[in-house]
Symmetry: C2
Subunit: 333 residues, 2 copies
């Protein structure tokens, strides 16, 4: 294992110290329990937005804390759920009287711990709602999941809900919006290589020199199929077809198209894949009204990509376009 | 070789088609000769800003075309200089009557071809200046270079000069600013792994399972030293010390600190490295007034990082803060 780290046990803490040093205007890092919170405090009466999950998917979620997106994030160790006490502390920190929405990716540990944190916070008098994101069409159940996994849709949803919270949405309305976004987003990923969790020191799984995994999870969980590597255009079609058919997306739909690098895939290849994804969307009669291209939800240094598509009405597009200023996503500010 | 590509010969063209599809509001791609130009045209009387070089370093340079940064970029094949006819066409496309500045990374092919393009454009009546960027302190001469290589400083310089051109700087003033920035910026990089040029199909160089290359070039050119991998903090010190000593940066200097991923290194490790780089800067009495963290000048999927530091007076900081809207760098717009 070759990594730019010191002690494998200190990777998450030291990376958080780096984030704190780089972005003091945007976020503050608390340790023990560990959470990242916006530096300027949550405005009175605004619903607080919290997400979290295992580390190793950067910039998600810590990199989406700031203005116009998440108010706080709870990072676990690499590919390990954060604990309820982290979530409880973060929830308390961002409650500004209007309650807190938990955006939870559907992994068993995350769901269980966010449920406990919700109970703890509610017994402390904070109104908390949770929406579980499960946008991955690859598999119905998975290694760490009952039901579908939460993946790239989470990135879009955190942006959109962040804008809505800024706009003054109530907790009820924000919960409804988050659910509606989740109902209208689908994703699927693939990998050319594994990744190595620092404390494990060995690749999470093995892939042959000519193999790829279609439908991979963001922790390297098995997908639909292991097969020989194909030209990129065919790979993109293998991801786009199940996405389009699952919702189903329909002729005339406006969509946000998000082509994501799993981390180790260079941007030149992500754009090459975007080209084909956009072409296929058009062939299905979809109108790509917004897009996102790059590494936003990663699996350490895994080579591969995922595609996410969200059906987007004018409200969603307006929320998408609203200013955002976080380390990992920024525009209009 | 496992890559998300179709035919190795089509990688650059297809990635450019993807960029064109993703960012029609920002840029337009011309083929044969190939260049990327801002979509909204250069305002009358503004100096045009052109850069370019081999592909494989994305988002640099194509991803820096838009508003507030480059007006055009000429991509070569992967790790291969673009040709003079590309540069000439791009220069003509962005001349709005005030001349064109070429920002050239110091590689023999780039320098030679930009010189030819400058002559061609000048014989066509366009006032052209060139500034050669040579910020890499690792080696004095290199495989593809007479003199020092141009690396991470280029990213900062393109942003700063883009803002200055927007502000109405004349060609003389812009040339002087670009030279001043280059005089005040230093960089050094390292690699844990090689990368593979698609048309070559084999890694550019070999590194042992426990080895790293200190002072690597962005095409995998040899650096100062091949040695056993060390903890990240020591590696960062191996990069920071020569940077600080070379200028030399002095107690009390304000600096922009840029910690860059070579592509395959995940963001969690880049922030971990930033933590140490910022700490060392402080120990040297430097004040980090701005920073940039992430993959901005890459070497395909190479794992590694580079550190760049620029001495920044108030003018530089103001230009750095000015709005920019490109696919690869965006704020305030």
């Amino acid at each position: 294992m070759k990594k730019l780290i010191n002690n494998p046990d200190d990777v998450v803490r030291e990376a958080l110290e780096g984030m704190a040093a780089a972005h003091p205007d945007l976020l503050t890092v608390h340790f023990d329990p560990t959470y990242v919170v916006r530096a300027d405090g949550v405005p009175d009466g605004k619903v607080g937005l919290l997400s979290g999950g295992g580390s190793g998917h950067e910039p998600m979620h810590n990199g989406f804390v700031g203005r116009g997106m998440l108010d706080a994030a709870c990072p676990g160790e690499v590919f390990t759920s954060p604990t309820p006490d982290q979530m409880q502390a973060a929830t308390e920190a961002i409650d500004a009287g209007a309650g807190v929405l938990h955006i939870v990716k559907n992994y068993t540990g995350d769901v269980m711990n966010f449920e406990m944190a919700e109970e703890m916070a509610e017994s402390g008098g904070i109104d908390v709602r949770s929406v579980v994101i499960d946008d991955d069409v690859a598999v119905e159940d998975s290694t760490y999941t009952a039901g579908r996994r939460g993946v790239g849709g989470t990135v879009l949803i955190e942006k959109i809900c962040g804008a809505a919270a800024d706009k003054g949405y109530s907790l009820d309305d924000l919960e409804a919006l988050c659910t509606r976004c989740n109902d209208n987003v689908r994703s699927m990923g693939m990998a050319l290589t594994s990744c190595t969790v620092p404390t494990a020191g060995e690749p999470t799984f093995d892939l042959g020199e000519d193999e790829m995994e279609i439908g991979i999870g963001i922790h390297g969980e098995p997908g639909r199929k292991r097969m020989e590597v194909e030209p990129a255009d065919q790979i993109v079609e293998r991801l786009m077809t199940p996405i389009v058919e699952d919702l189903p997306f329909k002729d005339g739909d406006d969509v946000i198209l998000f082509v994501n690098s799993m981390g180790g895939t260079p941007l030149i290849e992500v754009y090459l894949a975007y080209r084909k994804a956009a072409e296929l969307a058009e062939q299905h009669g979809l109108r790509v009204v917004r897009n996102l291209v790059g590494p936003y939800i990663t699996s350490l240094e895994m080579a591969g990509l995922s595609i996410t598509m969200m059906r987007a009405d004018d409200d969603i597009v307006e929320l998408w376009d609203a200013p955002v200023h976080t380390p990992g996503m920024r525009w209009g500010a």
